[in-house]
Symmetry: C2
Amino acid sequence: MADPAAVSAPDAPAPSLSDPAYRSSIVDLLGVLAYTELSAFHRLAADAALAPSLGDRAAISAMAVAEFRHFRALADRLVELGADEQEAMEPFVAPVDAFHESTAPADWLEGLMKAYVGDGVGADFYREVAAHLDPATARLVTDVVADTGQSGFVVATLRAAIAADPPVAGRLALWGRRLVGEMLAQAQIVVGEREGLSALVVGGLDGRLLPQLDLAETARMFHRLTEAHTARMQALGLSA
Amino acid sequence: MADPAAVSAPDAPAPSLSDPAYRSSIVDLLGVLAYTELSAFHRLAADAALAPSLGDRAAISAMAVAEFRHFRALADRLVELGADEQEAMEPFVAPVDAFHESTAPADWLEGLMKAYVGDGVGADFYREVAAHLDPATARLVTDVVADTGQSGFVVATLRAAIAADPPVAGRLALWGRRLVGEMLAQAQIVVGEREGLSALVVGGLDGRLLPQLDLAETARMFHRLTEAHTARMQALGLSA
């Protein structure tokens, strides 16, 4: 992760919720994360219909339930901040739904791969963003990431499927590439359209980064996310 | 509820899991309840797509998550008893799925009504059955019922919809009648096909009821379930 101290003014204030611009950015951030988790809950619950056994169905359902818990924690924080949870999520419904429509899994393994890639890239993104937040919001975002659900089940199932039918690896590698591409493309659109979100993601609002660094810093963050994704694909024995 | 003491042998033993016939009935009972809860989770999560607002979607999703919690508690008990949770659920997949296919809600209100009727009749049935169980299993079944989820949301939403559009009452009353009919019919088929379940539901296995009372007792139980359902429909201002 880049060291923001390198470009800080020595007396830069920590971000505070009493700053209206920062607060509005936080409402945007919690809104997009909350809707992302709520829709992940529904997609995973729907993917359960593809499960080859009752045990697999129970396991993916447990993952869906973990996403709902994340949604609830983020939405509760919106309410604590005096925001309306529905209003905060509303601007992000269309892009998140569009992402899911363009990446509907064709079968059980594609659904698992989507959960694996989505959780992995999502967790990395949460950690990147947490570095720019006030302590209370940073703690919430970090707690949500720490509740990682059951990715052990996903990794074991994908590995076993690849071992049982090696040609499946090529298809899944391609699918993983497509998923991360669509995910980062959608993220860039969303961040680009919401000024406060953009400032937050690359640290512009905490007074420690100079505005002209935003573009370069965004590019670096996307590079870090892609590198970590590659490592996760390799952990499955797939080329990213 | 009928008083089993009235027909008890004075020295009747309490039901015990060391009795293989009783244990096998309990595995059947936990299996059918667990699969009912797991499929309720999936149906409610799918019904969320019908929700008119993000708030409604979050509320019905929370109800789905409560059903998953019930599933997990029942399945964990199966594992504690040394049973295989998948095997225990397997015999009940076809009838429970058939029930859901024959009662797919056409819209949001029908989905809520199904949740309301299903939770209500289900809770009454759990309480009836708990009276015939060993203390540990009875406690589990009672705890699951006590975790009632958010039926306040369902009642408030249905009442508001009926107030806003009174003709909707007739359609929902008819739908409620159909739901309880299908539910009791399916329950009778399932209980009839599994001898151990039948003995358990009407108390034949605890040694306190005479076998020839089974039919009459089953009829009385179904009568009590129907009466309680009528009272719940009246609470919504609907005739059952």
